[in-house]
């Protein structure tokens, strides 16, 4: 009401200035983001570039991005240098088993912790959370000892060492991260849904199977992607448990490759690139779920 004829244009020009300032700030921001994005992309670009060069070309000064003649045979040379086909099959097999195992066992545990009522629920969940925080390397030795005790009909050692089993069986026995993630999601499902189903005579398994699981698809997708990724990228377990070259995973195989082809950067980069392709494809396909899943579950409280 008090606004006089003077203050209105003053306010207008101030708004104009603010708008212009915002535009400038925004341009700077986008510029920085693109520069940062280039820093993130550069090592990948360098990987591709090097993988297509000759052995001599990689040491040229100043370094070039585009190879003079792309050496596509580097990929074939790398693929045939070690049994990479086996490495890929092994990694896929383990990643799928781990993913299935985690989805089943973690969703069941998460259901118990969010929808069932029983004694010791809180202390048990607290115990599980403690295992989320401890580095799993702390239990490397006892796990190794345990798998060494378990008999295995098809292994040379007679126990689980040297087989794939130590790398996936544990995934069927729950996990703190997955359980925590899914529980956060399950807690957001209205309790009344389950209660109503119970009144209608549904048992907890049916409620879990037909109400909770279908509603939790985004969270399950997130857990699946994470588990697949962890399994695919895991290095320390294959290094510890696997012996025979045919049984190696992509990561362990790449590590072996690195040791055998020191300084042969084109081949090493070709191997690195091929090894990450499945993850990058998965990420591009599932990026939305990847990000949305975290937004929905990670930290909502």
């Amino acid at each position: 009401m008090r606004a006089t004829a003077e203050t209105v244009p003053q306010a207008a020009s101030r708004a104009q200035l603010a708008r212009r300032l915002r535009t400038v700030r925004r341009a700077v921001l986008v510029g920085l983001l693109i520069a940062g994005g280039l820093v993130m992309i550069a090592p990948f670009a360098w990987m591709i570039s090097t993988s297509l060069k000759t052995r001599a070309e990689v040491f040229v000064t100043p370094p070039t991005l585009i190879p003079i003649v792309p050496q596509w045979h580097n990929y074939a040379d790398m693929w045939n240098a070690l049994p990479f086909a086996s490495f890929f099959l092994n990694s896929f097999k383990l990643a799928i088993l781990n993913t299935v195992g985690q989805l089943v066992s973690c969703s069941m545990a998460a259901f118990a912790f969010s929808a069932l009522r029983f004694r010791f629920r809180e202390p048990l969940f607290a115990l599980l959370l403690v295992t989320l925080i401890i580095p799993f390397q702390v239990v490397l030795v006892p796990n190794f000892v345990l798998y060494r005790l378990l008999p295995h009909p098809f292994s040379e050692s007679g126990n689980w060492i040297g087989t794939h089993e130590p790398l996936w069986v544990g995934a069927f026995l729950g996990g703190a991260f997955g359980t925590f993630l899914l529980r956060q999601f399950f807690l957001a499902i209205p309790h009344e849904l389950g209660d109503a189903a119970r009144v209608d005579g549904a048992n907890p398994w049916q409620i879990y199977r037909h109400i909770y699981l279908p509603l939790a698809k985004p969270a399950l997708a997130t857990l699946a992607i994470f588990t697949f990724m962890w399994s695919w990228n895991d290095l320390i377990d294959p290094v510890i448990y696997l012996r025979d070259i045919q049984t190696l995973t992509v990561t362990a195989g790449l590590s072996l490759f690195q040791g055998q082809y020191v300084g042969r950067w084109p081949l090493l980069m070709a191997g690195a690139l091929v090894s990450v392709l499945p993850m990058i494809l998965l990420f591009i396909v599932a990026q939305r779920q990847f990000v949305r899943g975290i937004a929905l579950t990670g930290i909502k409280g």
Partner: protein, 306 residues
Amino acid sequence: MTALTRPRRPAARRGGGGRSSDGRWALLFLGPTLLGLAVLSAGPILATLAISLTDWDLLTAPKFSGLDNYLQLLSDHRFQVALRNTFFYTIVSVPLGLVIALGLAMALNTKVRGIAFIRTAYFLPVVTSTIAIALVWQWIYSANGGLLNEILGAFGIPTQKFLSDPTLALPSIIAMSIWQGLGINIIIFLAGLQGIPADLLDAAGVDGAGSWARFRHVTLPLLTPSIFFTTVLSLISSFQVFDQIYVLAKPKPTEWTITVVYFIYENGFRFFKMGYASAASWVLFLIVALFTAIYFWSQNRWVHYQ
């Protein structure tokens, strides 16, 4: 995260009538998890403690040796430097990684055309295995034709041995790890930022708060749960550093690059000193437990849940 500490529906639990307990169903649903806890995670922590009190090479029977392994750790120079390196790694990489990620998340939280593409660039290293990343960085850091040295050379800076120089090796590995881990923290921060009600920021703006004031008094407090979560994640992963060291410090790390987990691996699975490796594991466990306990305890003081 509040749900962790807040008891759920105390009224319903007090009820007693109707369905009072789902004990048997709980046992069914938790069966796999309980077995996992017993034989793969919680149980083995105690087993680690037991093994740490022995001298055991896996081939002969374990011999009880009391606290010998711990006493030996105290005077083992390699263990001391492994601890020092791990702490250095944590103290540098966690805060630095979080601050950079927060800044980038705020920048990425704008609506500009093509922003989704830029975001993808930041997430890419997260899904890539550390070994592939370490391989390409090993090449970039190389003292023999490496890209970084070529770039520095153009400015007249002499060739650096990034990965073998005592003062540069660990910082170089840390830089690579921060680069790799940015994306995951950015995702979490973005989710947190997008959860901040726009009208809250608008209201602050109408009340005359500048952008710094809005950040300091609206965004930052509302983001504390995300900051807490990302810090916990970063802390845990920084105490677990192994892959980078395994790949970049071949054939084996020097005293400038060895970490505690590599020390455990080396003693347990190269030298088959199971008791000694277990003692180191138990020390690592105590350190991480202490750190996280302090951190969780601190959250009441600075984390605001909506």
